[in-house]
């Protein structure tokens, strides 16, 4: 990194770019969450099921995130692993009201954590227990129990309850992610 880059970095003019993977089952709210994180004038009104994946960008106070918003549909889930290599952080979204498929989310998470491109890297994983507004939603503690998150020992992780529609809980998660990435970089 050149001197000028460092200087602008200190002055906060140029932000560091971070590649982020957004994963989770279909209908868990990945696109809705990413949409909510974008500046309000760039937000889309209608969210439709993602086909394949889409690339989005959003900024926080010190970082510029490039998000690979992957489709969660069963037939597209085999695309995820092709993006593991370039991902520097992972957002894993679960639908807290879908008790039936929590086991499927757990299975996909295990596959993700055991993938050679992820297994030996200490990358932060942020979990969103989404759809907290629904009546039969599980608490974030219960979700972390069902996904057996306590077994993740070699990676920093954090779970927050969120509501992708109103944006509740999203900022808390992104702040944590930003801290983790800055700790890793220094």
């Amino acid at each position: 990194m050149g001197f000028f880059d460092k200087l602008t970095g200190w002055l906060g003019l140029k932000k560091k770019e971070v590649h982020l993977l957004c994963l989770g089952l279909d209908n868990s709210g990945k696109t809705t969450i990413i949409n909510k994180l974008k500046p309000s004038n760039a937000q889309a009104q209608d969210i439709v099921p993602t086909i394949g994946f889409s690339v989005e960008k959003f900024k926080t106070s010190s970082l510029l995130f490039t998000v690979f918003d992957m489709s969660g549909q069963g037939r597209y889930r085999n695309l995820w692993e092709h993006y593991y290599k370039e991902g520097q952080a992972i957002i894993f979204v679960t639908d807290s009201s879908d008790k039936l498929r929590m086991i499927v989310a757990k299975e996909e998470l295990e596959t993700l954590l055991n993938h050679p491109d992820i297994k030996h890297r200490r990358i932060p994983i942020l979990f969103f227990a989404n759809k907290m507004d629904l009546r039969d939603a599980l608490s974030s503690v219960k979700v972390s129990q069902l996904l057996s998150l306590e077994n993740i020992k070699d990676k920093p992780w954090h779970i927050c309850a969120s509501n992708g529609l109103t944006g509740d809980g999203l900022q808390e998660g992104v702040d944590w992610l930003q801290d983790q990435i800055q700790v890793m970089k220094t």
């Binding site: 069963g74 889930r77 008790k99 039936l100 498929r101 086991i103 499927v104 299975e107």
Partner: protein
Amino acid sequence: MTSSHGAGRGAQQRGDEREPVSVERSNEANSKWLDAHYDPVANLYTFSSCTALVDLHRDGEVKLVVGDLGTGLYNMKLKVYKGTSLMTENALLDLPTGVVTFLMDQNEPRTPAVAVASGPYIYVYKNLRPYFKFTLPALDVNLLEQDVWNQARQDMIDPMTLKEMLEGIRDKADIPLSVRSLRFLMLEQEEMESFVNLHKHHPIKRQTVITCMGTLKKNMADEDAVSCLVIGTENAEVLIIDPEAFTILSKMSLPSVPAFLDVIGQYDVEFRITLACRNGSLYVLRRDSKRPKYCIELSSQPVGLVRVQKNIVVGCSEETLHAYTQKGKKLWTVYLPASITTMSLLDQKSRGFQAVMVGLANLEVHLYRDKNLLNIIRTPDVVTSVCFGRYGREDNTLIMTTKGGGLIIKILKRTAVFEEKDTSPGPPLAQGVKLSVPKKTKLYVDQTLRERENAVAMHRIFQADLYRLRLMASRAYVKALEGSVAPVSSVQQEPLQMNAVVQGIGPKFKLTLNIQNTSVNRPSIHLLISFLYDEHLYSMKNSFFKVPLLVPGLNYPIETFVDCLSDKGISDLIKVFVLREGKSAPLLTAHINMPVSEGLAAA
């Protein structure tokens, strides 16, 4: 329906000594199924024919519709499950014998209707609200019976005479008695009077009941096309009912009462209805035929019927599974370890994979593709209904209910593939495959002949050369040891090890010699280092110096500088000798290949 019920109850205590060995069990860690949900007390008593998976509200979330038999007398209900929880329930008046979902019209929104067959009625629900009740047409009443009851109404005969006359009719007449008369004949003498007084004012009716139900696409094969209802009745008839007007489109009669049915095709084009009947036969009905086209006689009572593509798989009460083509040709038979409780089709649409799931009384569900057993799922209780398909938002979900009223939901892993393994005994399939061996070339034949003729000579020449090679190698080794030209000293008193590193791009190089005393506790003293090099090419400040005392085990880096004098891009070897004071033979020698000087020669 009844025969399946009977098999489920009857075959509990069979042993499982005939279990196949080499098939993956579901309780293993590498199972193909994820255990999504198990509720042992869901209070759900049903059969495969009374379960259906359907997207009731067109919201992409598929629900489970179950006709619950309750205790068999009370608590019959139509239940709808969403995810792991019960969403709604509607009370049913009588035992359900079949539940199907179908689209009844082209109107938007295209929400599917649920049809529940129960007694002589079909209750149709739309948006889970009662929408229509279809009643089977009444049958002809025996005129003699009607006459007798008319007399009873006018009090011309007493109950005892009525009973005698009805018994006479029952034994002789072609048309059987009505339910009311049969019930009357069962009564004790003291109950007769009140029964006659209660019922004599109503005209007698004779009605049949529905035994099984299915759907048949009307004129299009699409997934969301309008379907007709197909019902089998207790008086051995098959009716096809129009979904909009609820009129009987077609009526066909059978030699026996159907227990299970399967439908393929479209009503307006061509269709086949396969029926498993209580007389132990399968019948195939086709469009425009009032009588069955084909008949397959089974060796025992059918307890389940599944169609896989165009073949019919039927489970029998003698613990066997048979497969037939549409025209009645027998394909195979599989002997099962226990009696069948239920059967269903596993259709994995994403892979185009179809197989038959068979629930057994020994707490297992077997998966068969053709005659091969692919997978075994162990269940905590005897399974009475099996249903596979899209549920919630997950495509490959297996829903089972148990005899004790439990609900089991399993999800097929995304990565799971059922391997086609032939588990039947006999030689493996690979044995029958012919290998394609290429033709022998002329060169190959000549070479083989030459080798065969001169085998002894060839072997001797090879051996002689091998000995010569070994001799040369050992001579060279001895020579190296004697001249101490190896970088490791083998002399007992001075075990030393050395390696050299050259750094720099020239013309000035830095030479680092790492010397290590490898003895256990003897320090080395009085050692000297000398360099030998071409003086036209290289110059060295001092090419001869003393080595300090070497403590055992430590690594001593000794640095010196070499100048390259040539600018012609040539390089040479520098030899390093480690010597002992007063001896001319070196202890060890290292050859350093100098790199080409890339910088300009020193001015």
